[in-house]
Each structure stands twice: as structure tokens, then as C-alpha cells.
Amino acid sequence: MIENHQDVYLELKNVWKSFGNLKVLKGVNLKVGKGQVVVIIGPSGSGKSTLLRCVCLLEKIQEGSIEVEKIPIAYGDQDSIGKPDKEALNRMRQEIGMVFQSFNLFPHLTVLENITLAPKRVKKIEEKIALDLANSLLDRVGLSDKSEEYPSRLSGGQQQRAAIARALAMKPKIMLFDEVTSALDPELVGEVLRVMRQLAKEGMTMLVVTHEMGFAKEVADRAIFMDDGQIVEEDLPETLFSKPKETRTRSFLHQLLEREQNLNE
């Protein structure tokens, strides 16, 4: 569902991934256009998180390929397209920002140091410029007054916003979000979604694993339902959520709805 005039930014071609004998991704094909927001939903164990971890090169895939702007950044053992050189890979890696469910901020560094570490060490940016960048990012995620705090002094929502700022500091062209609101108290979810909504509005390409249906409907260009390591169905979020074609999608959405109702009661 990429329009013809739109450039494909990220493309997964027949991606297979297994841990030992356990097949987690079974031939996933996926295209994300420049500036698109794609949301992935699906039951736990369906391979959503693994998919993101493969895209940000934390996991090696066994078969298929992952391309960023037509350049392969990962491919299976059998493919023999020749290894991309290390420098090109590192550059690619910097273009992909990742935010984790558990924030993964560095606890021994202040918020500011968390954000400036990679720009200074990886991009060799001068201290002063890195600080300016970090401060403007903190301003963007609404944490200007927390720059000198250690992560442990922040609420979950603040930590996650700091983690988003840290990823943005590398000026990525695509941001991956792995259930970033799942570990948060309900009242803190909104502030994180607000930052993500803003990012989407600014034209950031995003691949988002989430169960926040409201967010998906409002922000996403496309929604994907994954189950058992495969993409079962993809459509406009509105259509996928209200008129799913596949039975598996339907029963998952049903369960999700029931859970939400239980929570609201």
C-alpha cells in the first residue's frame, strides 16, 4: 500500500529468523515508505519485537534481506550478495533509531549525558554542539528541566521521553518503537504518545509495535496484524480494526477489546 510516487525507505524481503529450532519470523515481507507510520499489532510471541530487533540489527536473520533505501543492511546466511562494508553498515545503523519497552537509559549518566554520549563518541560531534542538540531535543520532549537528573529520579513516562530524545540525537531517518508504552502506568501513556504523534506530524518514518489502537487509528498510515511469525493482514488502521478480513485478526481484536473493557470497568 505504498503509493507509486512514494519512495520506499525500508523493505523486508522474505525475512526468516529462528532461535535454535524455534522459528520466530517465517518469511516476512514489508515495505515502509518515506514519512510513513506503520503500526504492528499482534499477540505476544507473534514475532513483532523480533522483527524490530532484526531491522535495528540487534538480531541476525537467517534468510531473506532487509534493505534501507535499496541498500541491503542484513541478509540471510545463504545469500551471497557480498558483505556490505563495516563503515556503510555503521552509517546505516545510525539512520535507524530504536526505542525499547524498558527504556534502557544508562542509569549512571544524567539525562543530558545519556543523550550526548552517542553523538560525541560515534559522530565525533563537539561537546558544545552536542549539548545544544541535546537541550533542544529535551525541549521538544518536554524535559528541559530534567537534563541534570539521573534516570532513576524520573517517572516512567519521563524516562521514555528521554529515551526517545536519546534516539533522536543520532538524527535517524526511521524510528522503531517497541511497545514503548506497555511498561508505563496508564496515566503516563499519554505524554509519550504525544511526543510520538508530534514526530509523525514532522514527517518521521516510523515502525511502531503497539496495542494503542487510538494512537494507531489517528497517526498510522497502515496497520499490520502479525501472528505466528507472519504478516496475516495489512490495511488502513481504520479498516483493519473495524473490518478485519481474517479470522485470526478478528479474534485477536476481540480479545484486545475485551481486555480493555475489563480494564475500564
Binding site: 535507524i96 544508562f106 549512571h108 554520549l117 552517542a118 529520579r153
Partner: protein
């Protein structure tokens, strides 16, 4: 029996000279232990059998043989092997250094491996190389974890230097023994020696605890 202060005061300069040697052995062997211990830890977790296996054998060898045996062995056997004389001071420092390297190596390994794997994920997605991740993320956090067991090891080392008596190093314990024999006042002298050990060891415990508390700011 009367406690004779005079004998302690008379021989105080000699005891102080012993303290100096005790502290020198401690510092020298600690330096060896810290550097070599970190190398052992990194070798153990490297995943390369070629270096992790020798590190493992080394660690278990030094942990399973008594330090007294190691000191004596370094003084009498190693010079024969390497064809070079070692002074009692050198032999004691090297033997104790290599000994605590084994213990510190295991402490450091546990510290590094105790760091949440998600921290490493975070450094990787930010594009930090492995040297930078170790330097700025893993080791600083591991440092906080290993501080308490390292303190204990240093204290054991300080007191362990008294084993060097066996090869005649003129450290505090040996000096105490010699004075006792000369003056026939072991009661006073050995009491003073024990007290001096306390006075030089306790500040380490105190200082390290202060450091620990200071490093805790900002921790989880």
C-alpha cells in the same frame, strides 16, 4: 603480668618500617591484581576459547592452592625456572598479586556479566562500538557492582601480606616476631602489631564505603 608500654615505644620506628613494607607489598600486588584481574575477566567473557580457557585454568589454579604455598614457590622455585634471583619482597608481591588477580578476575567477571543485557542493546542501536560501550557504559556500571567485594579482597590482601613472613620479608608481622624474640615481650609487641593491622586496614574499609555511597547517587 604488666603491660610494658616502653617496649612498644622503643621499637616503634622498627614497627613503622615494617608497616612501610607491608603497605608496599599491598600496593604493588594490588596493582598487579587489578590490571591482571581485569584482563582475566575480559578473557573469560570474550567467548574465544583460545583465551578464555587459559584464563579459567589460571583462575582455578590460583584459587585452589594456598597463598602461602604460592609465595614460597615464587621465592624458591621460580628463580630456578627463570634463572633470575627474586628478593623476598619481589617474590611476595608478585605471588600475592597473581593470587588476588584470580579472585578479582572472578569478581570483575561477575560484575560485567551482572549488567542488564538491555544496556548493551541500547549501546548497539546507538552505534557505539564495543570499546566505547565498555568504557562509557559497561565498566562504569560494573565498577559500582564490584566495589564491595573488591573492598573485601583488598582487606584480605593487606592482612595476607603477613604470609610473606615465611620467606623472611621484613614486613610488619616479621618485624613483630623478631622484636618479640629479642625483647621477650611478645604480649606487648604482638598486641601492637594487631592494632597496627587494624589501623591500616580499617581506613580502607571506611574509604571504600564512602566511595560506594558517593557512587550510588543516580543509581537505580
Amino acid at each position: 603480668m604488666e603491660f610494658d608500654w616502653k617496649v612498644i615505644i622503643d621499637y616503634f620506628p622498627d614497627l613503622l618500617a615494617g608497616v612501610k613494607v607491608t603497605l608496599s607489598i599491598t600496593i604493588l600486588s594490588l596493582l598487579i591484581g587489578l590490571v591482571f584481574g581485569l584482563a582475566l575477566a575480559l578473557a573469560r567473557i570474550s567467548g574465544w576459547k583460545i583465551i578464555s580457557w587459559p584464563a579459567y585454568v589460571y583462575i582455578e589454579f590460583f584459587r585452589t592452592t594456598p597463598p602461602l604455598v604460592q609465595i614460597v614457590w615464587f621465592y624458591f622455585v621460580v628463580p630456578v625456572i627463570i634463572g633470575m634471583e627474586l628478593s623476598a619482597f619481589q617474590a611476595a608481591s608478585i605471588a600475592l598479586g597473581l593470587n588476588i588477580a584470580a579472585f578479582l578476575g572472578e569478581i570483575f567477571r561477575a560484575g560485567i556479566q551482572g549488567i542488564d543485557k538491555t544496556q548493551i542493546d541500547a549501546t548497539r542501536v546507538l552505534g557505539l562500538g564495543s570499546i566505547d560501550s565498555y568504557r562509557y557504559v559497561i565498566l562504569p556500571q560494573a565498577f559500582r557492582i564490584v566495589l564491595p567485594p573488591t573492598t573485601t579482597t583488598i582487606m584480605l590482601l593487606m592482612k595476607g601480606t603477613s604470609l610473606a613472613t615465611a620467606i623472611g620479608t621484613l614486613e610488619l608481622m616479621r618485624v613483630g616476631q623478631l622484636i618479640s624474640l629479642e625483647t621477650f615481650r611478645p604480649f606487648e609487641i604482638l598486641t601492637a602489631v594487631a592494632l597496627i593491622y587494624f589501623l591500616i586496614t580499617y581506613p580502607v574499609a571506611y574509604g571504600m564505603r564512602r566511595l560506594e555511597r558517593k557512587m550510588q547517587i543516580g543509581e537505580i
